[in-house]
Amino acid sequence: MTGPGDSDHIHEEVTMSKDIETTEKRAIEQGEETTWAAQTYEPAVDIYENDSALVLQADVPGVRREDIEIDLDQDVLTISGRVALDDYEGLRPVYSEFNVGNFFRRFTLGETIDQGAITADMAEGVLTVTLPKKEKAQPRKITVT
């Protein structure tokens, strides 16, 4: 054990994680999907489908509600989020384990979506987009009489 002042660096003492592991933030290859010079990341997503809708949840830490853009063009859903930087003003990085950047991800949807009924919500850096299926795409229950 070293006491305070004996070392000039961070000394990790306890690391515990259960069911959760660090996966590197997935950086988008430069020029592949955007022409931005800065590094952009792909958010981790969960997507599930039920009878009435497709629901997408994306981890976009550091992005504020007003800085999220959701676009559905035909069957291509695009999500982009601009990370807020004002908190970093006047800081000097001394130790770093991850980088910070905007988020971007694009999906081709297999379902016909009711464009006008799309809703989105942001809470604690998690974006939830609900994409209701168009009536005709919903399974119909036919009762045999």
């Binding site: 003492e13 981890d59 830490p61 550091g62 000097r92």
Partner: protein, 148 residues
């Protein structure tokens, strides 16, 4: 290492932050000689010094938690960050197309290179980013000495 100062161009600002973080990846502030670094451990942390170096600011991306499930402790030069992330399954019948987000429990405790003043510690959780700010102990704060 220089202080982050941002201008009006947001892409330029992002680049500036990314370059600064890249440069600090191999800064001796974290343990190289035999001490395990936090690389590969959840959640990854970034640590900054504020202005004149009087305070340190820790930031970590832990989206989708509740404030109640987060725990931050500062004692001496030791800091602990812990939390639990739950992902609630949707109700009714559903099927997953993709499942990439992780849930679970984490705890990281580490010692900083200097003593901090725990009475000054504040923590905030906003947009899925946990920020902890704490001032260095008086004895290790940099002091400008007036020349008389």
């Amino acid at each position: 290492m220089s202080l982050l100062r941002f201008g009006a161009d947001s892409f330029d600002n992002i680049l500036r932050l990314q370059r600064a973080l890249n440069r600090s990846l191999d800064h001796p502030f974290f343990g190289l000689g035999g001490t395990p670094s936090g690389r590969g451990v959840y959640p990854p942390l970034n640590i900054f010094e504020e202005n004149e170096g009087d305070a340190i600011v820790l930031k970590t991306e832990v989206p989708g938690l509740t404030r109640d499930s987060l725990e931050v402790e500062v004692v001496g030069n030791r800091m602990t960050v812990a939390g639990v992330r739950e992902i609630v399954s949707p109700e009714g019948e559903f099927r997953y197309h993709r499942r990439e987000r992780q849930a679970g429990e984490f705890r990281r405790a580490f010692r900083l290179p200097y003593e901090v003043d725990r009475d000054t510690a504040t923590a905030s959780y906003r947009d899925g980013v946990l920020t902890v700010r704490v001032e260095k102990a008086e004895a290790v704060k940099p002091r400008k000495v007036q020349i008389s």
